[in-house]
């Protein structure tokens, strides 16, 4: 037995090393390349840069309109996630607590969105968003992200959780004269914290990284998000890829930082989202 362990351990470590290398090598390459000149990168693609040269980042910042795009990303993501939490939690509460048939029907209509990919709707959606005069506005992208793309899953997760919250609490509050609406916000909503954090994490990842919706609904340069800035710069930097890589880094950096600090939460959130689903 002890002999077996001795043999197993190096193989196991080798396996770990292999997995880590396969996963991390492209990311490592992305990062080290941002500090190199094209000649240096071609001569020694995987070596460490000879000096910590930030000129690629400075050039990228100038070409990219970074702060404006970052601000746009933040506005869209934060407002959309707040909307999702607000509207989905109320709807899920009603679905979980009422036995009325009309709410059952509404719930099954929401569930359609879990099965049908929203992409089926995009061509007519374009018409609807222009009809509402929301084309080229952040509100347009926010509404599409919330109601067309991410609402059903959020309602589904929240409903499952509210079902596990005992109803007695509300009944007691109700007897004391607390209205339904207040009762929800004061008593139930604070109890939903674990599932709200899952909903926030899953939606933040999805909305921040969404490229298709801004691509279709935001045309004017000052409204665009980070991924559009990256996309816009592919052509001009086709030959100078060391200048292009910092843009890739900078467009995902905010989420990577978010992940580094919240790893456990993010992974728990993904698991919670799948176990309930």
């Amino acid at each position: 037995m002890s002999k077996k362990k001795l043999i197993k351990k190096p193989i196991f470590l080798l396996g770990l090393l292999f997995i880590s290398t396969v996963v991390f090598l492209p990311i490592y390459y992305l990062i080290v390349t941002t500090f190199k000149t094209p000649a240096e990168a071609a001569a020694n693609p995987l070596g460490l840069p000879t000096s910590l040269n930030f000129s690629n980042y400075i050039n990228a910042l100038e070409a990219m309109n970074y702060l404006q795009a970052l601000k746009n990303n933040l506005i869209i993501t934060v407002v959309a996630v707040v909307f999702l939490v607000f509207f989905a939690s109320m709807a899920a509460y009603v679905i979980a607590r009422s036995k009325k048939k009309i709410f059952r029907v509404m719930y099954s209509i929401f569930l359609v969105g879990l099965i049908i990919p929203f992409q089926i709707a995009i061509v007519p959606l374009y018409q609807i968003i222009s009809g509402l005069h929301l084309m080229n506005t952040h509100m347009g992208v926010i509404l599409v992200s919330v109601f067309c793309i991410n609402l059903p899953l959020s309602i589904f997760l929240l409903r499952g959780f509210i079902n596990t919250v005992p109803i007695e609490l509300e009944e007691a509050a109700f007897m004391d004269g607390c209205g339904t609406f207040r009762c929800f916000w004061v008593i139930i909503f604070p109890l939903l914290k674990p599932i709200i954090s899952t909903v926030v994490i899953l939606n933040t990842l999805a909305i921040w990284n969404d490229f298709l919706t801004p691509l279709l609904f935001l045309q004017s340069p000052e409204k665009q998000v980070l991924l559009q800035e990256v996309y816009k710069n592919v052509g001009p930097f086709a030959t100078n890829w060391t200048a292009f890589f910092p843009m890739l880094v900078m467009s995902t950096l905010p989420l990577v930082i978010f992940y580094i600090f919240m790893q456990k939460r993010v992974i728990e959130g993904v698991v919670a989202g799948s176990v309930k689903g």
């Binding site: 607590r97 609807i128 109601f147 609402l151 990577v256 799948s274």
Partner: protein, 293 residues
Amino acid sequence: MYNKQRERVFMLMILPAFIGFMILFIAPTAMSFFYSLTNWSVYNSTLEFVGLENFKLLFQDKKTVAAITNTIKYALLITIFQNVIAILLAVFLNKKTAGMNFVKSLVFLPAVLSILVVGFLFQYIMTSADYGLLNNIIQFFGGEPVNWLGNPKIALYSVLATQVWQWAGWSMVIYIANLKSIDSSLYEAADIDGAGPIRKFFSVTLPLLYPAVSFNILMSLIGGMKVFDVIFAMTKGGPGYATETIMTTMIREGFNSGRNAYASALAVVFFIAVFILSRIVITFLNRWERKIS
């Protein structure tokens, strides 16, 4: 507790979500079905019913048919590869060794990056130009360089590999959570019966992973059907139409070429394909569930 007053408040609480969903999801979905039977395009001022004309055109267009087959092929393959690799990773990494949480977090990391960024990064890694990292590595070990994205026979698989790299960690954490819930006494019993590690995997682990397997399979299948960003970044549908997918065709026809009715017909085909494929997979999963229970 269930009085009229309360129901009225309930209605007010659910209506914002419901109305928004009806206007921005149900209505445009229904419109897609409607438009697929018309001649709607930016070049037509009058809307007329043309029956199944768009569908006929669609199936006569080699490029579109290739897009549909590519999408189905891609979705099936990513489902298989992503899940096989994720299960192996989960079994391998589900140990209480020091530093294991770090490795798990690392394997999950690519899922945080945007698909577009991963696509651009790998476009440079897989390029056949001199600076292509992958070919440099292959040549370093004495192999022949491969034209990963320029060869129509392998371009789709190259794109697929990047997405397996990106999403295997996401599926893995779901499998690990499921593994944790498996009672260890089952493994002890298998040990007593003299089962080896492979036997244990197929007789104990895999059947008990059923909940995670069925969830992950459906997610990767539907996710694979929607593939768009990575194609957009890496190949733009080329070379030729080797990596053209339903979504890239739909965006091109619906937005760039203004053939809205044609794009709507493709959306309907997309819906039918997702529906049929997921039905088939669910049937298989159910059969498997009955066999193991």
